[in-house]
């Protein structure tokens, strides 16, 4: 699901901002959640902007097309009652810092495959920054593709899996009208499939490459919305001269924000807090 958070002097302004960022003009197509009401200051001092979270309703299909393909992605009805069970269970809580680092920060980090019954000894991560001894990334792409195709089949869902390798990064795109069901709340299932694909690659080949995995264009849409949101937030920060903190997000999303901010003069960004509550702060530079 696609959403953005935005601020404005009034709730209406904030909503307009968010809808703009989402590229959506119909209020019927979005849900609005007011995170903070605006407070009037005194002579313009001490006021507080309104903060809203605007989510595209799942009914509404995006206009976005990938690669010129014009699939009519019908809505996957019949799963409307997923919200209550999407609660992120206990799992989320014990995310560690290390994980998040390894998720994003490490280039070409190789992991020794865990051999057989080994457990303890195999845990050490061998860091090999030189991309010389490449585990064959084309082979890894093949493994990823086979895994994803099998996964779709297990779900009983039709879809295409396309892989490509660019700059040593393995891109895996899973598309098809029914694959929307594999996105999950805030892309949780996309992340899970990513994790599993990496695990399978690691098991079947030597190490795992850097990967981008996307399902039903979710990541692409989300990155785009995030980028726009970050850019607008940066403008506000420049105007107000005040820092702004975004809501917590994972390392990949934070990188999107950092990258967007780095292209804008007058602002800088950094992250604060511990995963899973690590957040990007945009500050005047």
């Amino acid at each position: 699901m696609e959403w953005v958070e935005a601020v404005g002097r009034t709730v209406d302004e904030a909503v307009a901002e968010a809808m703009n960022a989402l590229g959506e003009s119909s209020k019927d197509a979005v849900d609005v959640e007011i995170v903070e009401e605006a407070k009037k200051g005194f002579l313009g001092i001490g006021g507080q902007d309104a903060r809203v979270k605007v989510t595209l309703k799942p009914k509404k299909r995006q206009r976005r097309r990938r690669g010129g393909r014009n699939r009519d992605r019908r809505n996957t009805e019949g799963q409307g009652d997923r919200a209550p069970k999407a609660k992120s269970g206990g799992g989320q809580g014990n995310r560690s810092k290390q994980q998040s680092k390894s998720k994003n920060g490490s280039k070409n980090r190789r992991q020794k495959p865990q051999q057989g019954s080994g457990g303890s000894g195999a845990k050490k991560v061998a860091v090999d920054k030189k991309p010389e001894e490449k585990a064959d990334i084309e082979e890894q792409a093949q493994v990823a593709k086979e895994f994803a195709v099998g996964l779709l089949k297990a779900f009983g869902v039709d879809g295409d899996v396309v892989t490509k390798v660019e700059d040593e990064i393995l891109f895996i795109d899973i598309n098809g009208e029914q694959t929307e069901a594999l996105v999950g709340r805030k892309g949780a299932v996309v992340q899970a499939v990513h994790e599993l694909t990496r695990t399978v690659i690691q098991r079947k080949t030597f190490g795992a490459p850097r990967m981008r995995l996307d399902i039903a264009g979710y990541g692409a849409r989300r990155r785009e919305a995030l980028k726009i949101y970050a850019t607008r937030l940066a403008e506000t920060v420049v105007e107000d001269g005040r820092e702004a903190m975004l809501e917590p997000m994972n390392a990949a999303d934070r990188k999107v924000v950092h990258d967007a901010i780095s292209e804008i003069d007058g602002v800088r960004s950094f992250s604060e807090g511990e995963d899973p509550n690590r957040s990007v702060v945009v500050a005047p530079s």
């Binding site: 019949g78 799963q79 009652d81 997923r82 069970k85 999407a86 269970g89 799992g91 014990n94 995310r95 560690s96 994980q99 865990q114 057989g116 019954s117 457990g119 845990k123 895994f147 099998g150 996964l151 089949k153 297990a154 779900f155 009983g156 869902v157 069901a181 594999l182 999950g184 949780a188 299932v189 992340q191 899970a192 499939v193 994790e195 599993l196 695990t199 399978v200 098991r203």
Partner: protein, 83 residues
């Protein structure tokens, strides 16, 4: 289609892809007769660490796709890893 069939297929497929000894993987989906199921996963002992992963990452991912499978059937899903 039997209740929990997608959940079973998805959990089994993913687990088998991750372990060394795929023939020892057992997945049993137990229904409470209403709209929730428990998937019990058993693997060879040496493979359990792999299925759970560092800090439970892999297990969490398996739970997540299992829930997505359950969504397809309108089921609440729990996954338990047993040895």
């Amino acid at each position: 289609m039997e209740q929990g069939e997608i959940v079973e297929k998805v959990v089994r497929y993913v687990t088998e892809q991750i372990v060394d000894d795929a023939s020892s993987v057992e997945v049993e989906v137990i229904s409470d007769g209403e709209d929730s199921v428990v998937a019990e996963v058993r693997t060879a002992k040496k493979d359990m660490g792999r299925v759970i992963g560092r800090r439970g990452r892999v297990a969490r991912a398996i739970r997540s796709v299992a829930r997505a499978g359950g969504d397809e059937e309108g089921l609440d899903v729990q996954v338990e890893f047993l040895d």
